[in-house]
Symmetry: D2
Subunit: 344 residues, 4 copies
């Protein structure tokens, strides 16, 4: 399979190259960057020296890219993938977008939260969270790869929502991410000394991953869902932990919670169940495509607390994209994704 | 004022020495350690070289310590302060315990959560959270200094609980602490490479600071309170951020929330109000006795989210102890505590 | 004493405010910033909220600043302090420049390394390293505060150079600094995820602190000195460690090395001697004005290795500036500088 | 090829499992631990859950292990591999020891630095630094895998020593390592808050990697070599940077230095030459088997400064062991080792 990466110089793009490097069935043909077109990617990312030394080109060459590629991965800021999607509309080239443009069934939700007009409303798209929507992904033209916080949060809550074990209007998601989630652009707020030995929240009640989580929980539970999602910045590079709280419906026992997780994920390679009382740590999934889950039931308050960890750049971005690619390309879903987490 | 520190080699004890070093009205007469008795404290903590080089003694010499001291600070693991408290019962020496032994009105709650028999049930004690219980602290014989997570969490929720703006049974507290909060003893779990670039939760639904927060919220609101408190470990040294969630009672507006904070804390030196929409960061209070608060109201879900940060070793331990000492000794409450946060 | 800070929004400027906050004999009258003039400093540095909330003004108001101040601290990039120095030339206001403009006896050395014309060659200036040049500092009009790497390195080598115990042409200085030394401006290279869990060198054989160290060693030893100085970036906020290597002159014993350190620094409050075989750690001086020194003699190679640590923003910048201020103002040298290091 | 890992619960052992997991020609048959025999490795290292869940056995079963394995990797503290080596002496099983027992030609050097009697002096062994001793490794019975600091340092200096471009008695090596290099055992000194935001040296003039580097430089240059090697601890998990200083012999030009590197390493896959003026960073090799090299010539002092980075657990331990295994097993040297570095 020939693949190209549009927007290869962000962290997700670079991570995609790291993963594709060991993928036996994918060959990277083009990589693009508008600000670095003409430069070898290894000048921008010296860790890729000797691995990928090819030159970046401009995405203005989208026609050529489309012709040369079976699949195109897009790692652009939101609002830009739509242009690529439309340009490749009538080609056989399939698309996996790591951004938000193709994640929403209802584009008015996208427009309300992202403050951008959606210009590709009728795009033939599916939501790219493999464990939940594997069947739809198989033949999709465009896959809207799930976001990082959302992947961790939805996988944590899906068994409970689907089995109607919780009141969806009591959901509170308190999530924490390493700084790579904020992208590669240097900003004052993410300057090293500003964040080191510091911890803070951001985007309270306004973060754009909120409606994406709500969409999935509503889809699974069949109930309209509004919830609180609060992201925080951890002074580390990689990893997301989502702490998800909800009231159990009256009479729901801890065993039912455990059963719901085991039934839904028992056969999933990338989901590792740490069980009732389990404590996942982001380091245990770092560099891998795993999502580790542990759950707790508090008899005093009647709440269930689910803890979920992923590597935001792998299962939360590039790894999930390759997993979706494998499904869409008819390959074994694990192809190129069996690397063990890097510890310590 | 002559003061002594029982258990000076823990992080809170060392921090107490750092703060007392610049306190104009306190002289440190004795410092104790059972494992290092006979050694100069600066051998254990080289950062104190030239500042405190005096030798540690054993707390077996409690009679002498009591005689020589106006105040004794205790930095021992829970269960041990009671012994000291009883030994000094009939002396004029007053006690500020940084541990949990004297924090609970109802010692059966202490016994249930700490799995230790309380042997000093009738101790003349007050809960040492100065902003809430200043008047009681003034003349107390024994002050049970508030815990680190609890200080951050109670200060965040107090204005809301006291003014009946929230449903107390919807409270969820998701808290995050730097590793110094786990103490100075080396453990596998806190070995540097295990925690670096990692994030995890612990003590879900079972952490001992839970009943301490519930006690204060119940006291303020007049309602029995059970809540969820979840601590997490951040790969950094110092700082706690508490993210507190609760449903606002019907009809409560954002302005009322703001008013409650301003009314309660407007004159407090150590509480800095960042206002509606404010984002405190732990680094902004590092090394200082400040508690920074920001609050958010989500009209979609009807929840208020309060963010609270402190330095766990200062306002969460040694600084608060000195604040309590100042009150009890009849000094200006800010004495020795006006150091600016250390940034970056 | 009335003092002002020109360029208060860099890290050294902010640190100066932290230290001056607890200085009993200094009152901050003006603080300047060109990019933030008109804004309260606590908007730029929220950690100063409630401590310094005054507004920044432009340094265009230098005449007023000069009139209102006994001392002016300058925290500007190199090349800009000269303008301030000339503007205040004929006023009684004295100057402590934290930058490089006034550090060199021979301005042609400055011009060669800094690639800037020196426009204030005849400035009445002294080199501001208190332990070595205390007497000259007393009455100086302009004090060129020593640099961060240079302070750590010169203090490490001074006793050996002065007592002719080493061959100065064998000196190799391998220094390591936390990222705050690179300043507050956001740059791609210092973006949090780029540096976290990474270590690298920079400025090999070209760093501008090289000639400053050479000037001091030549002055102390009476021998022309060229040496290698290599800075490295440590993924932490604060602290410098300088590892200094030199061949001992034939027959020099370890005892003589120790004697040289004790003789030169035995009475210095801010220099703590860890002795032969001592291992200083940057954390033990963090937030304080101390310089900790340990030295090692290797009989196999005939080299002495001196290890030196300081807090780059305190003894390497703002603390040293206040120390120089105390000397110049006729105060006790330790005034406002006795804060204990912050550990852990 | 069937392989076993003796001492699988140290960091190097766990890293070996991470790498072997993606090795197409190696099957892990036994893994041992004395303290955790009987437990699944994934209980000790949860990041391996679903990848390696097999149980640890005791190395008392060395006969069975030897019979079942073509190769045995040893990840034990020094002094213990000799026992394994002798036990497998008369079996066809070959050995790759990650410790120091088999690294020295002259066992009296080992005994002098490691303070242990060498009980396997006549062992048929080779020094396992593939780029230098590839030919000897091919048919070796026992391979003494090069150490972490030594690999970085020797590779940096080898082209200069071999081509007689430097005076070997002027060599100074200032090296810095992440904390994983100190092993997995919890110690007070490596407790998270003790090291965070701190930097220090250790083992000055006494570190055991010194004679190992001297052995290689002497072997390459043909000159007896004593040098200074100083290790430092960086507050990060992984990575070593070695800054190597030496005086160039009179008349040696920068071009000759560059030629020496290109000639020696031009065809080496795992050595990436960043050239004259190059600045390697540990993050660029993290998780990979690469060694990145940059060199600088200072005309002022006549010194060459070589900067060298590796991942201490990969090229400095487990990766190098697999590289040696590939050579010894007749496989392509890169097999299972082409994973890209993990960035950021």
């Amino acid at each position: 399979m020939k693949v190209s990466v549009i927007g290869a110089t962000g962290y997700a793009g670079a991570e995609l190259l790291r993963i594709l490097n060991n993928h036996p069935a994918a060959e990277v043909v083009h990589i693009t960057s508008e600000s670095h077109a003409g430069e070898p990617i290894s000048d921008i990312y010296p860790h890729l020296k000797g691995i990928y030394d090819q030159k970046l080109i401009s995405m203005k060459e989208i026609d050529m890219i489309g012709k040369d590629s079976d699949f195109v991965f897009i790692g652009l800021p939101h609002g830009h993938a739509m242009t690529v999607g439309k340009a490749l509309e009538n080609t056989p080239c399939r698309i996996i977008d790591l951004g938000a443009d193709y994640r929403f069934d209802d584009t008015s939700v996208y427009e309300a939260w992202y403050k951008v007009e959606h210009t590709h409303k009728d795009a033939p798209r599916v939501y790219g969270l493999a464990e939940l929507y594997r069947d739809r992904i198989k033949n999709a033209k465009i896959i809207g790869n799930a976001g990082c916080y959302t992947t961790a949060s939805i996988l944590a809550l899906a068994p409970l929502a689907k089995n109607h074990l919780i009141d969806v209007d009591t959901i509170v998601i308190d999530a924490k991410s390493g700084v790579s989630g904020a992208g590669r652009s240097a900003k004052q707020a993410n300057h090293f000394p500003e964040l080191y030995d510091s911890f803070k929240a951001y985007g309270v009640a306004t973060h754009r991953h909120t409606p994406e989580i709500e969409q999935a929980i509503a889809d699974l539970s069949g109930e309209k869902t509004v919830l609180n999602f609060t992201p925080h910045l951890v002074p580390m590079s990689r990893g997301i932990l989502s702490s998800c709280y909800a009231k159990l419906k009256p009479g729901v026992a801890a065993e039912q919670v455990t059963e719901a997780f085991e039934e839904m994920y028992g056969d999933e390679y990338f989901i590792r169940l740490l069980g009732l009382g389990g404590y996942p740590a982001t380091k245990n999934v770092r560099g891998s495509n795993f999502c580790d889950l542990g759950w707790h039931v508090d008899p005093r308050t009647g709440r269930v607390i689910v803890l979920s960890v992923i590597d935001n750049l792998v299962k939360g971005a590039a790894g999930q994209a390759v997993q979706n690619f494998n499904i869409a390309a008819g390959l074994d879903e694990k192809t190129g994704l069996t690397m063990a987490p890097m510890y310590p």
